[in-house]
């Protein structure tokens, strides 16, 4: 177990007294009835499913390259209906407020005038896009696809660790894990009464269409991918296939007279909505990074002219900035007059002198993150770092305090995983996906990321993380269980 010194992590399956929680009983019984070899066989079935589907990444080594699957754990993570209801309400509330926040800062900037969020924190953030100022976004839906990272704290309550409002990925794993777990535990799955996630692609399509519906009937939707070498390419192709939308690359698109067209076999076809899986910086070399070959020259002007919709809107990153994060509860209160249903993790902003001195004095207890970085990079996990590492990091913080925030060492909950043939708890987080267009929808499921290394708290797939299916239970079925 990790040595954070504080409370023991919450275990998804077992109570502190070691008893199996009711919603895990069916799975626990089933697993107990299977011999180690049978479990291993199911694990192999699962891995073969991913390999055949091509849900892989390529490892280059020596003179050959091999295909590897992203590690996937056999045992589903189960969330009871009442807990999900809280998550759903909390995420809906949060995204509503964040969309309003984006509409405001790219509009009248009332929240900045009222001093609720520091002006320079927003306007000086690299993810703030001046180009988005006063641009009409239908339904004020800036972040059409949002994937928020939740963790479960030792007391069992969920909290938001991070919002991903730019180009969140991972939803294909939610769907593929579900396909796979229906094959590996069909009986238990049926008994448990799991809510379906397979509406996600058509709800995504409806969300995207709702972004153009007010000016063009039956809009043409496309998915824009950086291409086959992108690590999330599988997901781009998967979503395009399930939505029935063309998967386009920058080189397939042409802008003419502020309209966007794709090159088809029969000529140019007008496009209305672009679900882009390319970062802001790369979508239009004329507006953003000039060295980008992934985007389309003139795309942003076509967007400004109202002839195409880009989803998610450029500039949403300013609202999932790690420093702005600290203000989200205040943002929710400001726009909705409500308290946040899902709490934040306590966050210290190094830009504030009083908080900076607290951070520097307690580096051995805190996790420090660079505001601009993601994917587990550029961070210091105080309790695990050496004295020298902490000293180096302290200098970096002092040199550029605005670039850093700090949080207490968080404790992720654990869930049972199949590790080398044995059931063993590993730390997990939870990434549900929220769609917002004309309305906000939370898909009843999520990507559960697993830190497969014992004791590790880092769940990112770039650093040895895996994933597992997430079962959200339907309430009434729950009651019929023993």
């Amino acid at each position: 177990m990790s040595d954070t010194g504080t409370a023991l992590p919450y275990d998804e399956m077992l109570t502190a007294e070691g008893e199996v929680r009711p919603h895990y009983a069916a799975l626990d019984n089933r697993v107990a009835s299977l011999a180690g070899e049978e479990l291993a066989e199911r694990q192999r079935t699962l891995e073969r499913f991913f390999l055949l589907q091509g849900i892989t990444f390529t490892v280059y080594g020596g003179d050959s390259s091999t295909e590897r699957i992203i590690p996937t754990d056999l045992l589903p993570r189960i969330i009871p209906a009442d807990e999900w209801a809280t998550i759903e309400a909390g995420l809906t509330q949060r995204l509503r407020a964040l969309n309003m926040f984006l509409a405001d800062i790219y509009g009248d900037q009332q929240i900045l005038m009222d001093g609720v969020v520091p002006r320079e924190l927003v306007l000086c953030a690299p993810s703030y896009r001046r180009e988005m100022q006063n641009l009409y976004v239908p339904h004020q839906a800036y972040s059409n696809v949002c994937g928020s990272d939740l963790i479960r704290q030792p007391d069992g309550a969920f909290a938001v660790l991070e919002d991903n409002l730019r180009v969140p990925s991972g939803v294909s794993y939610m769907l593929a894990n579900r396909e796979a777990s229906k094959r590996t535990f069909p009986g238990t799955f049926r008994l448990a009464g799991v809510r379906a996630v397979d509406r996600y692609p058509d709800l995504l399509l409806a969300t995207l269409k709702s972004m153009a519906a007010d000016w063009r009937p039956n809009p043409q939707v496309v998915v824009l991918t950086p291409g086959v070498y992108n690590s999330a390419y599988y997901e781009h192709a998967y979503l395009a296939r399930l939505m029935g939308a063309p998967l386009v690359e920058g080189r397939d698109l042409v802008v003419h007279d502020n309209m966007v067209y794709m090159r088809t076999t029969t000529g140019l076809k007008r496009i209305d909505v672009i679900y882009r899986r390319v970062d802001d910086d790369f979508i239009d070399p004329l507006t953003f990074r000039r060295d980008s070959g992934l985007g389309v020259a003139g795309l942003f002007n076509a967007y400004r002219a109202g002839n195409v919709v880009i989803c998610n809107a450029p500039g949403t990153g300013v609202a999932d900035d790690k420093a702005v994060y600290a203000y989200v509860p205040a943002i929710i209160r400001y726009y909705l007059g409500e308290d946040a249903i899902l709490p934040n993790i306590e966050t210290y902003l190094c830009r504030e002198p009083s908080q900076l001195s607290h951070v520097l004095a307690n580096l051995d207890k805190l996790v420090v993150k660079a505001v601009g970085a993601s994917g587990g990079y550029g961070m210091l996990i105080g309790p695990h770092a050496s004295v020298a590492e902490r000293a180096t990091f302290a200098e970096a913080i002092k040199a550029d305090p605005e670039n850093y925030i700090a949080q207490p060492t968080i404790q992720l909950s654990t869930a049972p995983c199949l590790i080398d043939g044995q059931i063993d708890p590993r730390h997990v987080d939870l990434r549900p996906f929220i769609l917002s267009g004309e309305k906000i929808t939370v898909t009843p499921g999520a990507l559960t990321r697993v830190a497969l290394k014992k004791g590790s708290l880092v769940v990112n797939s770039s650093q040895g993380g895996g994933s597992k299916d997430t079962w959200v239970l339907a309430g009434d079925t729950e009651e019929t269980q023993p």
Binding site: T66, R241, D252, T264
Partner: protein, 314 residues
């Protein structure tokens, strides 16, 4: 209507799988024939390797090593492994356009070819290894046929298959009979193996009995209406699929690929087969191969790399 890039990829998947299948067959026939150390066996190796464009005498003398490289050498862009990797890479780029069933078949072949034990599997039983790949490629085509909509994308896939097939058979025949006047081929073993390389032995025997003659082979592989690997059969399919995919493109009919394909089809359909000579056949094959190359370019210019100025809305 589909993305131009996607149509291009589907077309190339068709070409690559057809190429891989053909080369598996050439390698297999060559390996089998050269188990005997006869003069006709050496001729089989010469023809097989010339047909893939590599008639190096050293390679002809070492058919096993040549087949090994032709199958597994990823450095060689013309190898079976490279063709299958390219087919699969193209399929990955249009993963949203092909059915899961189709994708899985192709992905499986690729995984088998690139598995760490592929070299060992080839060494242990090259014939079985090649035979399995051919079988898997048939499964791929079957899955595509049975699960994909037979629309535009399908049309481009099959255009690739048949154009490649016509060119491969054309090249094989050209290699066999180009020098027929100076070096007439009468060796029964050699002729039978040429039929095997075209997967044509059994259909030929049913049609002409075991009377295997160069002129009849040419007649069968060039002009037979029903045999799926005859050039006539392939050109009829090329014309058919081009008509299908050209339906919405005005530029495709006049002067474009459709006209070229129609002309080539007619050339084979109405050829004077009765009076065909081995000499005449060589010239005919050259024309066919040139026209296939012209169709390939015309497809590219009409559907994929057309100039934007011509197609911009007014």
């Amino acid at each position: 209507m589909m993305l131009a890039r996607v149509a291009d990829s589907l077309y190339w998947i068709g070409r690559y799988v057809e190429r891989a299948e053909h080369m598996c067959r050439l390698s297999d026939v060559m390996l089998n024939a050269t188990l005997d150390r006869t003069e006709s066996a050496a001729q089989v190796a010469r023809i097989a390797l010339s047909a893939v464009g590599d008639a190096d005498p050293a390679k002809i003398a070492a058919p096993y090593e040549a087949a090994y490289a032709l199958t597994l050498d990823r450095e060689d862009a013309g190898s079976i492994a490279s063709s299958l990797a390219s087919a699969r890479e193209n399929a990955r780029q249009v993963r949203d356009q092909i059915t899961t069933e189709t994708w899985e078949r192709l992905n499986l072949i690729y995984l088998r070819m690139t598995a760490p034990d592929a070299a060992k599997a080839f060494t242990d039983g090259s014939s079985a290894f090649l035979h399995d790949i051919i079988g898997d490629l048939h499964l791929f085509k079957g899955a595509a046929d049975a699960t994909m909509s037979h629309g535009e994308g399908w049309g481009f896939l099959l255009l690739g298959v048949h154009l490649e097939r016509a060119q491969l058979i054309g090249r094989l025949l050209e290699v066999c009979f180009r020098d027929a006047r100076d070096r007439p081929i009468n060796d029964h073993t050699l002729l039978t193996n040429v039929l095997r390389m075209s997967c044509a032995l059994e259909p030929y025997l049913r049609r002409y009995t075991a009377d295997v003659q160069p002129r009849k082979i040419l007649e069968f592989l060039m002009f037979d209406e029903e045999f799926p690997r005859s050039i006539r059969f392939s050109t009829a399919r090329i014309e058919e699929h081009l008509t299908g995919v050209s339906r919405y493109v005005e530029a495709a009919s006049h002067g474009g690929p459709e006209r070229l394909a129609g002309r080539l089809k007619a050339r084979l359909q109405y050829a004077d087969v009765e009076n065909l000579t081995l000499d005449g056949a060589a010239g005919f094959l050259t024309t066919v191969l040139d026209e296939c190359a012209a169709i390939h370019s015309a497809i590219y210019e009409t559907f994929v790399a057309y100039s934007l100025e011509m197609r911009l809305p007014a």
